[in-house]
Amino acid sequence: MQASAKPEFSVNIVTNLTTPASRETSAALPMRMTISKLNFSYGPKQILFDINMGIADKKVTALIGPSGCGKSTLLRTLNRMYETVSTSRLEGEILLDGQDILAQDVTALRRRVGMVFQRPNPFPKSIFDNVAYGPRINGYKGSLADTVEKSLRHAALWDEVKDHLHKSAYELSGGQQQRLCIARALAVEPEVLLMDEPCSALDPISTAKIEELMVELKNLTTIAIVTHNMQQAARVSDFTAFLLTGQIIEFSPTPHLFTTPSDPRTEAYITGRFG
């Protein structure tokens, strides 16, 4: 009885978020991306089951859940990074601005949906060349110097690096490297920025800086973040999806999910009873 009621419930939440008449989100909330009936597997192992959710425009959407729940995999479907694994199989529909992402050219899609990874992964190039990489490969014709400066400013790194843009990116600290990676992703002006546990390799001070940044970046782009840190999700996100064994258990506005979770499993997780 309970088992059959659950998926229906999570669909209801999605409808609440997507329809203008939503009770929680007063006005119309435009969706940048919508995921419907998504099933995903690596080889014979199914990772995601019937995922339905939306990524609201100019908001931060957090995916939380215990290790192995499929939250990173879900994030990786949004820019089709899963395709690097040849045995992966995806069913369902993911829309970006109403267009099916599976029908698009994958390189064009990834220019629109940027990504920041778990561990800082700057290229073995100078700071400048790292940020300029995206615009360069995309044949950007304008002033690279301006783009680099703008992106570094958005990533709150400009003041720290402006005097040595031509030094190796590896001379930066871990936190600076991660902000450089954010600047690199911003340089192609993505509509959506995916962040896969961006602070998991960083110290608390760098983490705080990046969290601050995420809140500011909302004005610029739409953010979807995977995190294993519930406090982080509570601090930075507007919406939170709680995943367990490949299913969305609950998807609500963040204050709602953390204060009055509808599902006992969500409550158990956020109060630290497992995970």
Binding site: R110, R111, M115, F117, F123, P124, G134, I137, Y170, C181
Partner: protein
């Protein structure tokens, strides 16, 4: 434990320590012995003439090996032009595009090719290039050496490309780079220094090859112009001079050996310098 047993153990330990030390010392000693012997025997014949003059006729003292130095240079250049691109691009295919089955076949074939005795490569080049043209030539010599460079370049390119961390590939692809663009703009630049080093070491390795040149480039007492004439090279010159009955020629053979070893050392040092410069990818 008895005292005697402990003393025996200590003895074995010290003995083995000493043995490993002696063996390490001997291996270094061999190099310095060769170097010293070359210097002692050939040092006196190394002068400006050696690098600038042609060999003198039999019986006349003096002369040099300018033709062999130029010839070796020409053949090594052409060999690199033939072998390096094939090995390099093949290595990219192996590391980035091929499936598991295909890759293991190519890899195994490359390892076998690497193990083919150089004299066999020489006969092959002889029958494929020398016989049809009815001419010993620099081209044939370069063909033989180029073939020897392919497997070394291929395997090391593959290894260095594979050692580039996966997260760099993902970073480039997440920015909208196609597979080919990722390889050209990120993977190869990240592995570039390793690959360059390997290519230089491959060059140093074939620079001293004699057997495949004996019946391909053959040799020449004079300057050879173009690519289709018999061409003198340092290793073959050493061979010819060393088996001759003339003392002056023996000295010149030693000098040529010294020059060849110097060349290989320079290439090695160059390779190491390249390896230690620029931005390295941290190993994780």
């Amino acid at each position: 434990m008895s005292n005697g047993r402990l003393r025996w153990r200590k003895f074995v330990s010290n003995f083995m320590l000493a043995m490993t030390g002696v063996c390490a010392f001997v291996s270094v000693l061999v190099l310095f012995f060769i170097l010293g012997y070359l210097l002692f025997n050939g040092g006196t014949s190394i002068n400006w003439d050696f690098f600038t003059k042609l060999p003198k006729p039999v019986g006349e003292a003096g002369g040099g090996m300018a033709n062999a130095i130029v010839g070796s240079g020409k053949i090594l250049l052409l060999a690199s032009l033939m072998g390096v691109p094939i090995g390099f691009l093949g290595g990219i295919y192996l590391a980035e595009f091929s499936g598991k089955g295909m890759a293991s076949v190519v890899r195994y074939a490359a390892d076998l090719l690497n193990g083919v005795p150089s004299i066999v490569i020489g006969i092959f080049a002889y029958s494929l290039v020398v016989l049809p043209f009815k001419h010993f030539s620099a081209l044939a010599g370069a063909f033989a050496l180029g073939m020897m460079m392919i497997p070394i370049t291929l395997r090391s390119t593959e290894e260095f490309l594979k050692s580039v961390p996966r997260m760099l590939r993902e970073a480039a692809m997440a920015l909208g780079a196609s597979k080919w663009k990722t390889i050209v703009t990120v993977i190869v630049p990240a592995a570039y220094r390793g690959i360059m080093t390997a290519i230089l070491l491959a060059l140093a390795r074939v620079a001293g090859e004699t057997a495949p040149l004996l019946f391909t480039a053959f040799g020449n007492r004079f300057e050879s112009h173009g690519w289709s004439q018999p061409t003198a090279t340092l290793p073959v010159m050493i061979y010819t001079y060393a088996v001759s009955p003339y003392d002056d020629w023996h000295r010149q053979a030693w000098a040529a050996g010294l020059v060849l070893l110097g060349l290989v050392l320079i290439i090695n040092i160059l390779a190491r310098t390249i390896l230690s410069r620029g931005i390295a990818v941290p190993r994780s």
